[in-house]
């Protein structure tokens, strides 16, 4: 039941974007409409999953820091590196979204 509700909600929320994108480009250009849709959905997905991953990483790091306060500096360095690697995957999606949105093909 909840799944059906979610899917319906997503469709309803996505429809105006599609309509707006189709309007803005003069109606006929479906590629641009799907580009806007893909950029939004893809970046949302990437940001959410990146949040999950970074949350796990930061949580474990804080756990380790609480257990070993002497090693805070090294744990912090490792955490920052890990967060950067996780985040860079999101940024790839961001670059792709920017290309989809702004580069005129």
């Amino acid at each position: 039941m909840r799944r059906i509700l979610t899917v319906t909600l997503m469709t309803v929320l996505a429809a105006p974007g599609l309509a707006w994108a189709a309007d803005a480009t003069g109606g006929g250009d479906m590629a641009k409409a799907f580009a806007v849709l893909a950029a939004g959905l893809g970046f949302g997905l990437a940001a959410g999953l990146c949040g999950l991953g970074q949350g796990r990483a930061a949580g474990s790091a804080v756990d380790a820091m609480a257990r070993q306060p002497g090693a805070i500096a090294r744990i912090q360095t490792a955490m920052l590196l890990g967060l950067a690697f996780i985040e860079s995957l999101t940024l790839f999606v961001f670059v792709i979204a920017v290309i989809l949105l702004f580069v005129k093909s």
């Binding site: 360095t77 920052l80 590196l81 950067a84 985040e87 860079s88 940024l91 790839f92 961001f94 670059v95 920017v98 702004f102």
Partner: protein, 251 residues
């Protein structure tokens, strides 16, 4: 992009913006360098003291990452770090742009790191040994496969290095641009100035809220991101160099 992003204040026709602002960064760094080394003293004061503290951080990181031989690479790492730091922070000044918010600048930095660490590795271990080191400690039958995989992963390094810096800076700029757009004459402020009741009741507080949010949250966040990205770029460059100079263990 030009829909939401305003051009910088100073624009010289015929020269791309990021090149001109790279020159500005270079000028800032040269001036700071000249000022802080003009009167060298054993007990440093003022700008010399400041620059020594900054370089001390780079030295500490190099010692920690590369090891006892790491101080040879301080010119490369510190130059990259200072350039990227000043360039990142320059994007926060309204009217200027960050040269690192352009893929060409970051790709140049990443390619310098890429070629340098290969060069260092080949100088240190010899070409054949360095290429052997790619294949890794696996059985002979698997070596060709490992070699190809390693080559691909090494080629992905400058890509991720440049895209990470570029994406972070660019995302921050687009975020700021969108918030200024929401605040400005096309957004909440325009609504408030139109004189309708809703505009005055809702638009004016909304403008104030966005201003407070940008000053109190977004700008500190962008300063933090600028520092962290500089740190990560330098740290990764150091790690690559450390991996290139490390002797293979299985001998």
């Amino acid at each position: 992009m030009e829909i939401i992003e305003h051009p910088p204040i100073f624009h010289i026709p015929g020269i791309p913006d990021q090149v001109f602002y790279t020159w500005v960064v270079m000028a800032i760094l040269v001036i700071v360098g000249v000022i802080s080394t003009r009167r060298l003293a054993m007990v440093p004061r003022g700008s010399q003291n400041f620059m020594e503290v900054v370089l001390e951080q780079f030295l500490n990181e190099l010692d920690e990452t590369v090891g006892h031989d790491g101080r040879r690479y301080i010119p490369l790492i510190a130059t990259l770090g200072l350039f990227i730091l000043v360039a990142n922070l320059m994007g926060l000044v309204p009217g200027l742009i960050a040269p690192t918010a352009n893929l060409n600048t970051t790709a140049a930095c990443a390619l310098i790191v890429f070629f340098t660490y290969h060069w260092i590795g080949m100088r240190k271990q010899g070409v054949v040994n360095y290429l052997k080191h790619f294949a890794g400690p696996v059985p002979v039958a698997l070596k060709p496969l490992m070699f190809v995989i390693e080559i691909i992963s090494h080629c992905a390094r400058p890509l991720s290095l440049s895209l990470r810096l570029f994406g972070n800076m660019m995302a921050g700029h687009i975020l700021l641009a969108i918030f200024f757009f929401m605040m400005g004459l096309d957004g909440m402020l325009g609504w408030a100035l139109r004189g309708t009741l809703g505009g005055i009741v809702l638009g004016a507080p909304a403008t104030l809220l966005i201003v407070l949010f940008v000053i109190g949250f977004l700008f500190p966040l962008k300063i933090l991101v600028a520092l962290i990205q500089t740190f990560i770029f330098c740290k990764l460059a150091m790690l690559y160099i450390a991996e290139a100079v490390a002797e293979p263990e299985h001998h």
